[in-house]
Amino acid sequence: MALELTISGIDAAYGAVRALQGVSISVKDGETVALLGTNGNGKSTLMKCVMGIVRPSTGKIELKIENKNHDLTRLSTEEIVSLGVAMVPEGRRLFPKLTVEENLLLGAFRPQARPDIAKNLALCYETFDVLKQRRGQLAGSMSGGQQQMLAIARALMSSPKLLLVDEPSVGLSPLLVSNTITMIKQLKERHGLTVLMAEQNFHQAIRIADRGYLIVHGEIVFEGESVADLEANDLVKNYYLGTAG
């Protein structure tokens, strides 16, 4: 299955505040691409642009699936989800007063996803045993790690091909961060996903990323073709590793 996400030269702003400037990145079939950057540099905005929640003022976002091009800047969020793009939003953004099961079912809201509900639900419960045990519990009453699992499981309910993960490490303890990242890798391999992950935890992100981009003040300042490439970069050293001279 051929899938390719190409973002070229997008600008986005919240009113007068510029969030993205001339951002171009691409994600190819089967890759795990990391979008690295500290808080407030535009990672989430870029994710939201792909989902159609924030509209870029210029530039193109194209998703190629099976040799068919889709212009994501012209599609609504629900149409983008229907194409097979799902997002695990930053801070999890669950439905806290709905049950775990209802949260999962909402992940499969699109009519295209509904025929596979039983299968996907079973798969989610098999993967995340704790969710099965707590299926009738209110999502907001679970621990942070469990909520993060639920957020990931919910995204998988729509049988996505491209998974966007926005800051999976936010609000989790180091051990849970590590577990979550490992989980994303396992799920990616199991479901044949393509993953774009925004993350500020450099060391965790590069554990599973094939390559990555460094975003600073809304601009892509470095494109690393491999993890080694990223680690060797001066800017990365400066921002993350604190080893630059």
């Binding site: 929640i53 629900e78 939003p89 953004r93 439905f95 806290p96 909402l106 809201f109």
Partner: protein
């Protein structure tokens, strides 16, 4: 579904057989008001309870239904059924407009906007002389009502049918994907959008249906009173009751607004007769405060707390 249908038919049969039990016309006069509140509270709950968009302008939707019916009755002498349809259509359109407000306004700002809508519309009707303007307009009731003992009994039955329709619609929404989507919007609208829930479509649909049902409840109002005037038709009373009843009954389940409307509506009718019509607003206020403090999940929530095993 089958059980609900049988229940609905039973309620209608009961309403139709009431004249055999009660011969006092006042029973139907008061019963009409309670049924009307069931429709209003149920309609309010579709947008306010399921989707979490609190509408403070229920009086305006009610009045738009009532005045649409009056205008069409005066112009073309339309029969009641068509008046109700037209009233529902006009209020549904207003609901669609209010639904568009949700694009920009959430939470308390949406609620304030609905109050503004109500005030603007009341001012318009105050200056619309064709339907009587500020001084109101007397409406002649039809002299004869076939099959029914009196016109009031007939209107009572019509309102019972509307109540069954409204509750049926609410129940359908609640148990379908639409209801799940609306609950998602109430809980976290951004997350709902991320999950591919078509939030705008659902909100517009809920606002339109909610408005249409309120308009349908208002359409027979002028015939019921034989008179219509803006102050009482746009009364804040409707807005307060439409909101208080679901809160007191419980907002999560379709039966909640029904319980709230029957309880609050009956108490108000009894208070009006036995004490004074002015006191009934106080009754609503006091009950609302008591419930918000003591049972924030309404009577349904209280019931679930007392009988945790029951799933209803």
């Amino acid at each position: 579904m089958k059980r609900f249908l049988i229940g609905a038919l039973a309620v209608l049969a009961l309403a139709a057989s009431m004249p055999l039990i009660f011969h006092n016309e006042y029973f139907f006069f008061a019963g009409y008001v309670v049924l009307q509140f069931i429709v209003l509270a149920t309609a309010w709950n579709i947008l306010g309870g399921y989707a979490g968009y609190v509408n403070f302008g229920s009086g305006a939707f009610f009045a738009v239904g009532a005045y649409t019916a009056v205008a069409l009755y005066k112009a073309f002498a339309l029969p009641l059924g068509l008046q109700i349809l037209a009233g529902a259509a006009a209020s549904g359109l207003l609901g669609f407009g209010v639904g568009m407000l949700t694009l920009r306004l959430r939470g308390i700002f949406f609620s304030i906007a609905t109050i503004a809508v109500a005030i603007v519309l009341e001012t318009v009707v105050l200056n619309w002389h064709y339907v009587g303007g500020a001084k109101g307009l007397p409406i002649m009731r039809p002299v004869e009502t076939p099959f029914f003992a009196s016109h009031t009994v007939w209107l009572f039955f019509v309102m019972a049918a509307l109540a069954v329709l409204a509750v049926g619609a609410a129940r359908y929404i609640e148990t379908s994907w639409i209801g799940r989507g609306l609950r998602a919007i109430r809980d976290n609208e951004v997350a709902a959008e991320c999950s591919g829930v078509p939030t705008l479509k659902l909100k517009l649909g809920a606002a339109t249906l909610s408005g249409a049902l309120m308009g349908a409840a208002g359409a027979p109002y002028a015939q019921y009173l034989s008179f219509i005037e803006p102050a009482s038709t746009f009364s804040l009373n409707y807005a307060v009751n439409a909101l208080a009843m679901p809160i007191i009954g419980g907002m999560g389940h379709w039966i909640g607004p029904v319980i709230g409307a029957v309880l609050l509506g009956s108490v108000q009718q009894i208070v009006t007769v036995t004490i004074s019509s002015e006191i009934n607003v106080l009754v609503v206020g006091v009950m609302l405060v008591v419930f918000v403090v003591a049972a924030p999940e309404g009577i349904l929530g209280l019931f679930r707390k007392l009988f945790p095993s029951r799933k209803s």
